[in-house]
C-alpha cells in the first residue's frame, strides 16, 4: 500500500493525527512555521527537509509520515510549549519514529544515511 503523508500544524492536530493511525508505523518531522513565501524561520529545518523528503521512498509499507509545523519562533522558544513538555522535543528539526526512543535531532537530520537508517531499520 506504500506510505501516506499528513501535514499538520500545532500540537493538538499532531496528537489527533497520530492517534487516528495508531497501529501503523508513524514517522514525524517537526519543523518551524513557514512564512507566506514558504520559508521557515528555522534555518536547520530548511536544510533538513529536502534531505528527509529524498529518503521518504524508503519508508516501510503502511507507514504514515506526519509533517508537523510546530509554531512560530516565540512559541518554540518557550521552554514549556507542549512539544517540549509532552513529546520531550529538544530542538527543531526533529525526525522521529513515534512511540519509540528512535529520533534524529537538528544536524543529524542533514545526514541521508541516518535518515535512511531511521526509516528502514528496527
Amino acid at each position: 500500500m506504500g506510505w501516506e503523508e499528513m501535514q499538520v500544524r500545532g500540537y493538538p492536530e499532531f496528537v489527533q493525527t497520530a492517534q487516528r493511525y495508531h497501529g501503523r508505523p508513524i514517522f514525524a518531522l517537526f519543523c518551524g512555521d513557514k512564512d507566506a513565501e514558504g520559508r521557515s524561520w528555522c534555518p536547520d529545518c530548511v536544510t533538513a527537509e529536502p534531505v528527509v523528503r529524498k529518503e521518504l521512498h524508503n519508508l516501510p509499507d503502511e507507514s504514515i509520515f506526519i509533517y508537523c509545523l510546530v509554531g512560530d519562533r516565540a512559541y518554540w522558544k518557550d521552554p514549556n510549549n507542549e512539544f517540549r513538555r509532552n513529546l520531550k522535543l529538544t530542538g527543531v528539526p526533529t525526525l522521529l519514529k513515534y512511540g519509540t526512543p528512535q529520533k534524529l535531532v537538528e544536524e543529524e537530520c542533514f545526514k541521508a544515511e541516518l535518515v535512511r537508517m531511521l526509516f528502514t531499520e528496527d
Binding site: 526512543p101 529520533k103 534524529l104 543529524e108 545526514k111 544515511e113 541516518l114
Partner: protein, 516 residues
C-alpha cells in the same frame, strides 16, 4: 565453473574455485581450508581484507574500540548478537552494562533510595497522608525507555562514524575469516586484518532440575514485565547483593541464599558490614545452603515456585515457596562457541577466559581481546573502555600507553554503598606483612541521617597504609551514601601516590561524609 554454480555466494580463493554456498561453508567447516590451497602452493591468507578491524561484541569494550578506530579512518565492522535467555529475553546494541548491568541496576537502586528518602522526608517536615507504594511496571518502563534511547544512540554514533554494524553472531571459520549469522539464519563471510574479541559474559545457571525453566537471572530482571514478588536471590556476588538490596528497598520480601562467604574477592571486613546492614534492613539471609531442586507450584506472572535446598555443612534439607528465583552465582565468558579453535586462540579451558599479554594481544598476533573475558583482569566497564581505546591508539596512532589495571576504583551499590580502591586488608597483609601496614578507620554518621534517626554506627571508612613506603595509602574503603562519588576523587589521589601525611594535611569539606 563459476557460472555453472547454482547457489550464492560463489567463492574463489586466489583463483582456486571452491564452489557455491554449500561447498564454501563445507570447506570452512570440515576441511582445513589451508589444505587444498597449500597443496597448490598458495598461502591460505587473503591479501586484501574486507575490513581493517572486525570487533566481535558491541558492548563497552567493543564499541569504544570501534569508535576510536574509526577516528583514524580505519574500515571497521562491529558484530553484536544477543543469544536470548532461557526465558526468551533479548536486547539491543550496547552490551551488558547498558542493557542488563550497570545502567538499569543503578536506576533501580536509585528507585529504592528514593523510597527511603520519602520515608525520611516526613521527619524533615514533608506531609503526605497517602501510603507510599511502588509500581514495578512504571519503573521498568521508564528504565527500558532510557535504555532504548541508548541503544539507538549507539547505532547513530556507529553509522555516523561509518562503522558497519551487523546484528549477527560472529564466529571464526578460518584465518582472518569470520562467519556472521543473523537472526534469520542468513550467513555471510567477512575477512579482516585484525580482530578484537569483546564478547563479554552471561549468567551461569546452577545445573539443577528446574533452573533454566523457572529461574531468572539479571539478564531478565531489569525488563521483567511483572513485579517479581517474594524473591529468592541465589548467590553472594555483588550482582546478588545489589539486586537483593534494591528489591527489598522497593518493598518486596527478599531472601538471599549464600553458599559460603559474601563478596568473594572483596575486603571481607567490609563485606560482612554490608551483609549486617542488609539483614537489619529487611533482607533475609540463608547461609551455607545451596538449592538442589526448583519446582513450579503455580503458573503465573509471577507464579509460585518451590525451592528445595541442602546444607553445605550437613544433611539438612529445607523447602520454601517464592514467586521468583533470581540466580546470581557468577558469569561465564562467551568464548566457547565462537570458533577460537579454528584460529588457534588459547583460552583457559576451565574458566573460558582468554589470557592476553599487557597489550591485550592473544597468542595469535592479529587477534586481540578486551573486557570481562580477559583472564586476571577486573570486570568493569571503564576498564574495558580504557583498554579498548588505548589498544586502538597503539595499533593505529603510534601510541605506546598501555592500560593500567592497578588502583582501579570500584563501587558496590548495595543499600549501604561500598566504594574501594587499591588493596583489601587481607591482600595487603598477605603482600606486605601485618607488621608493615597500618590501618586507620572511623565510623561516621552522615548529617542527613541524624534528623530521621537513621543508624549512627553503620557508615565506616578505612585506609590501609604501607609503613615502609612513607605510609603511602595503598587501600581505600568507604561504606556510606554516595560511596561512588566519594571514592572517585580519592582514586586519583592514590594514583598520584598520596601518603597518610598528605591525606591528613588535606582540609576536609564540612559537613560531608568524605571529610572523615
Amino acid at each position: 565453473e563459476a557460472a555453472a554454480e547454482t547457489s550464492q555466494p560463489v567463492v574463489s580463493v586466489r583463483e582456486e574455485h571452491i564452489g557455491g554456498h554449500e561447498e564454501t561453508l563445507k570447506t570452512h567447516k570440515e576441511d582445513n581450508p589451508e589444505k587444498p590451497m597449500e597443496m597448490n602452493g598458495l598461502t591460505p591468507v587473503p591479501d586484501s581484507y574486507d575490513y581493517d578491524l572486525i570487533v566481535i561484541g558491541g558492548g563497552s569494550g567493543g564499541l569504544a574500540a570501534a569508535k576510536e578506530a574509526a577516528k583514524y579512518e580505519k574500515k571497521v565492522m562491529v558484530l553484536d548478537f544477543v543469544t536470548p535467555t532461557p526465558q526468551g529475553n533479548s536486547w539491543g546494541l550496547g552490551g551488558t552494562c547498558v542493557n542488563v548491568g550497570c545502567i538499569p541496576k543503578k536506576l533501580m537502586h536509585q528507585a529504592a533510595l528514593l523510597g527511603q528518602a520519602l520515608e525520611d522526608s516526613r521527619k524533615f517536615g514533608w506531609q503526605f497522608t497517602e501510603e507510599v507504594k511502588h509500581n514495578w511496571m512504571t519503573m521498568t518502563e521508564s528504565v527500558q525507555n532510557y535504555i532504548g534511547s541508548l541503544n539507538w544512540g549507539y547505532r547513530v554514533a556507529l553509522r555516523d562514524k561509518k562503522v558497519t554494524y551487523e546484528n549477527a553472531y560472529g564466529e571464526f571459520v578460518g584465518p582472518h575469516t569470520i562467519k556472521a549469522t543473523n537472526k534469520k539464519g542468513v550467513e555471510k563471510l567477512y575477512t579482516a586484518e585484525r580482530f578484537l574479541i569483546a564478547t563479554g559474559e552471561r549468567p551461569r545457571y546452577l545445573g539443577i532440575p528446574g533452573d533454566k525453566e523457572y529461574c531468572i537471572s539479571s539478564d531478565d530482571l531489569f525488563s521483567l514485565p511483572y513485579c517479581p514478588g517474594k524473591t529468592l536471590v541465589v548467590g553472594a556476588s555483588y550482582v546478588a547483593l545489589e539486586c537483593a538490596g534494591f528489591l527489598a528497598g522497593l518493598g518486596l520480601d527478599v531472601t538471599v541464599m549464600v553458599r559460603s562467604i559474601l563478596l568473594r574477592g572483596f575486603d571481607q571486613d567490609m563485606a560482612n558490614k554490608i551483609g549486617e546492614y542488609m539483614k537489619e534492613h529487611g533482607v533475609n539471609f540463608i547461609r551455607e545452603f545451596v538449592p538442589i531442586k526448583i519446582e513450579q507450584v503455580e503458573e503465573g506472572a509471577p507464579g509460585r515456585l518451590k525451592v528445595t535446598a541442602k546444607s553445605t555443612t550437613g544433611n539438612q534439607i529445607i523447602e520454601e515457596e517464592y514467586n521468583t528465583v533470581l540466580l546470581a552465582i557468577g558469569r561465564d565468558p562467551c568464548t566457547r562457541k565462537i570458533g577460537l579453535d579454528k584460529v588457534g586462540v588459547n583460552i583457559n579451558e576451565k574458566t573460558g577466559k582468554i589470557p592476553v599479554n599487557d597489550e591485550e594481544q592473544t597468542n595469535v598476533p592479529y587477534i586481540y581481546a578486551v573486557g570481562d573475558i580477559l583472564q586476571d583482569k577486573l570486570e568493569l566497564t571503564p576498564v574495558a573502555i580504557q583498554a579498548g581505546r588505548l589498544l586502538v591508539r597503539r595499533l593505529y596512532a603510534g601510541a605506546t600507553t598501555k592500560c593500567d589495571y592497578v588502583n582501579v576504583p570500584t563501587t558496590v551499590f548495595t543499600p549501604l554503598e561500598y566504594g574501594a580502591c587499591g588493596y583489601s586488608e587481607e591482600t595487603a597483609v598477605e603482600k606486605f606483612g601485618e607488621e608493615n601496614i597500618e590501618v586507620y578507620h572511623n565510623h561516621f554518621w552522615p548529617l542527613e541521617w541524624t534528623v530521621p534517626s537513621r543508624d549512627n554506627n553503620k557508615c565506616y571508612a578505612k585506609i590501609i597504609c604501607n609503613i615502609q613506603d612513607n605510609e603511602r595509602v595503598i587501600g581505600f574503603h568507604v561504606l556510606g551514601p554516595n560511596a561512588g562519588e566519594v571514592t572517585q576523587g580519592f582514586a586519583a589521589a592514590i594514583k598520584c601516590g598520596m601518603t597518610k601525611e598528605q591525606l591528613d594535611s588535606t582540609v576536609g569539606i564540612h559537613p560531608v561524609c568524605a571529610e572523615v
